[in-house]
C-alpha cells in the first residue's frame, strides 16, 4: 500500500490528536486504489430520508440519525423487518467466524434481514452466510456508495447492490475519514431492530454500535464466549447498561418485531 500525506481538508485526529495508522490506511486504500470515476452504479443511487427508509422516528432515534441516506439495490423501501445487525472484529478468530456464520444462518432461515458493515471478518461472514442461506442482507457503508472498503470486498459489495441493499449516509465525493465509520455504526444501530456483537476487542468500532443500540433502547446481545472472556472489560460494562449475553441465536427471535405492520394492531388500544 502506498503511503500518502492526507490533505488538510480530509484530516481527522484521534483522541490523542494524532493521525492514526488506520486513518492513513483507510484514506489511501479507498482513494488511491479506487480512484473516483463516475460509473453506471451511481445512476442507480437513490436519495432517501430516514422517514422514507424506516418510517417516523422518535426523538431519541432522531438524535444521531443522518438527514439523508443513499441506497443502491432492489430491496423494498421502507425496509422489510425484522432486521438484525451481526457485527464484530475485522481480525476475527476462526471460532468467531464460525459463530457469526451460525447466527446468520439461524436468523436468515427465519426471515430475518441480516445487517452488517461490509468489513472484513465477522461482517463479511454475516453477509455471505445470509446470501448463501437464501436470506436477505443490508450492507451499511462507512464510505460513499461508489467506494469500497476494504477493496477485497468489491465483489461482495457489488453482489449486495445487485441482489439486496447497500446503504450509506455519505454522498458520492464525501471525504473518507475514520470518524465516518463511527457515524456509520450509529446509523447501523438505528437501522437494526437488534444488534449482536460476536467478537470484539476493547477498541473495536463495533462497540460504538453497541452503545448506540443501548441508547436507542434496542436489544443488544453479546455472544457468550466474549461475555465470559475475563480479559475484556467492555462486555461487563455493557451488561451493566442493559446488554444481554447470547447463548442461542434463537433467543434473538423473541425480541424481534414481526414483519406484520403494527399500525392496525395498535388501533385496538
Amino acid at each position: 500500500m502506498k503511503r500518502v500525506v492526507i490533505p488538510a481538508r480530509h484530516r481527522s485526529r484521534n483522541q490523542a490528536g494524532k493521525f492514526s495508522r488506520r486513518a492513513i490506511d483507510l484514506w489511501s486504500e479507498s482513494t488511491i486504489n479506487t480512484p473516483h470515476k463516475r460509473n453506471p452504479m451511481e445512476a442507480q443511487i437513490r436519495t432517501l430520508t430516514p422517514l422514507e427508509l424506516l418510517g417516523p422516528l422518535n426523538d431519541v432515534e432522531r438524535k444521531y440519525a443522518p438527514s439523508t441516506l443513499f441506497s443502491a439495490g432492489p430491496m423494498e423501501i421502507p425496509l422489510p423487518r425484522p432486521r438484525v445487525a451481526i457485527i464484530g472484529s475485522r481480525k476475527a478468530s476462526a471460532k468467531g467466524l464460525n459463530t457469526a456464520a451460525h447466527i446468520a444462518s439461524v436468523l436468515s432461515k427465519r426471515g430475518v434481514v441480516v445487517v452488517s458493515g461490509l468489513a472484513e471478518g465477522i461482517d463479511t461472514t454475516a453477509h455471505e452466510t445470509a446470501m448463501r442461506e437464501g436470506g436477505r442482507t443490508i450492507a451499511v457503508l462507512g464510505t460513499p456508495l461508489n467506494r469500497v472498503y476494504p477493496q477485497k470486498n468489491s465483489h461482495l459489495q457489488q453482489e449486495i447492490m445487485t441482489n439486496h441493499l447497500v446503504i450509506s449516509q455519505f454522498p458520492v465525493g464525501y471525504p473518507i475519514q475514520p470518524k465516518n465509520f463511527v457515524m456509520r455504526n450509529r446509523t447501523m444501530a438505528l437501522i437494526s431492530n437488534a444488534s449482536i456483537i460476536v467478537e470484539a476487542g476493547e477498541t473495536s468500532g463495533s462497540l460504538h454500535q453497541g452503545w448506540e443500540a443501548l441508547r436507542l433502547g434496542r436489544p443488544l446481545f453479546i455472544w457468550k464466549s466474549i461475555a465470559s472472556d475475563s480479559s475484556l472489560k467492555w462486555p461487563k460494562e455493557m451488561v451493566r447498561f442493559g446488554a444481554v449475553v447470547l447463548t442461542d441465536p434463537k433467543h434473538v427471535l423473541e425480541v424481534l418485531p414481526s414483519s406484520k405492520e403494527i399500525s392496525q394492531i395498535v388501533m385496538q388500544i
Binding site: V60, G242, V255, P257, S263, I269
Partner: protein, 219 residues
C-alpha cells in the same frame, strides 16, 4: 419493608408465550411499547397512545381514582444503568400522561444506582427480589415543596411486581406519609387461559411474601 402490599392498575396485557393471533398481536404491542415507535393512523408515539387511551377512557377505568389532580407521577428506572439520552419508556409514558392532565407532574427522582438482572431474561427463580431492587434504587432529588400526598409509580410492564415493590419502599422511606400506588401500561399474563384481550384494564395488588422474600401479583 415498609410497604408489603401495593395497589396497581394496568391498561393492557400480553402472554409471554403466545398461541393465538390475538396473543401474538398483544406480544407485538409489548415489543413496541419498549421502543416507543410511531404507529396507527394518524401515527402517534406508543407512549402518547397509552396516555390517550387512559385519558379518553378515564370514566370507565377501574384505576381512575389513582390519577388525582395532585398525583405526582414517578417513572420507574430500568433494571440496567442508563446512558445520557437513553430511551426511558416509563418516563415517556408518565410525561405523556401529565401532558394530558392525567396526574399533576412528572418527577424522575428515582434512579437506579446499581444494575440488577433483567427479569425478562432471567429464570423465575433468579429474578431480582424486592429487597434487591430497593438496594439498587435511590431517591436522588426531592420533589420541591411539601411532600406529595399521592405518588403514582409509572412503569411499562408489570410481571410479578418486584421492581414496583422495591421502588415503592424506597419512595416510602423518602416520603413517609405519602400514599403510593402504581400504574403499568401492560401486565404479563403467564397462563394463556387467562388471556382475554390486549386491552384489559385491571386493578389489583402486589403482595410481599416474607417467607420467600418475593412477591405475588393478584390478579
Amino acid at each position: 419493608m415498609r410497604i408489603t402490599s401495593l395497589d396497581f392498575g394496568s391498561l393492557l396485557c400480553y402472554c409471554p408465550r403466545p398461541s393465538s393471533t390475538a396473543m401474538q398481536d398483544a406480544y407485538q404491542v409489548m415489543l413496541a411499547i419498549k421502543q416507543d415507535p410511531f404507529g396507527g393512523d394518524p401515527p402517534i408515539l406508543m407512549s402518547e397512545r397509552i396516555a390517550k387511551a387512559v385519558q379518553e377512557n378515564m370514566s370507565s377505568l377501574p384505576f381512575a381514582y389513582f390519577f388525582q389532580p395532585d398525583t405526582v407521577l414517578v417513572p420507574v428506572p430500568k433494571s440496567s444503568l442508563m446512558l445520557p439520552d437513553t430511551l426511558w419508556v416509563p418516563q415517556r409514558i408518565a410525561t405523556a400522561l401529565a401532558r394530558r392532565g392525567v396526574g399533576s407532574q412528572v418527577d424522575s427522582c428515582l434512579v437506579r444506582v446499581k444494575a440488577v438482572r433483567k427479569a425478562a431474561s432471567s429464570r423465575a427463580s433468579d429474578r431480582p427480589k424486592p429487597k434487591e431492587h430497593f438496594a439498587s434504587l435511590s431517591v436522588q432529588r426531592r420533589i420541591s415543596g411539601p411532600p406529595p400526598k399521592e405518588i403514582l409509580l409509572v412503569d411499562d410492564m408489570i410481571t410479578r411486581g418486584s421492581t414496583l415493590l422495591g421502588a415503592a419502599n424506597r419512595l416510602a422511606e423518602a416520603f413517609p406519609g405519602t400514599r403510593i400506588r402504581a400504574f403499568g401500561a401492560m401486565t404479563t399474563i403467564s397462563d394463556r387461559a387467562d388471556f382475554v384481550a390486549l386491552s384489559k384494564p385491571l386493578i389489583g395488588s402486589i403482595q410481599y411474601r416474607p417467607s420467600t422474600e418475593d412477591t405475588i401479583r393478584r390478579p
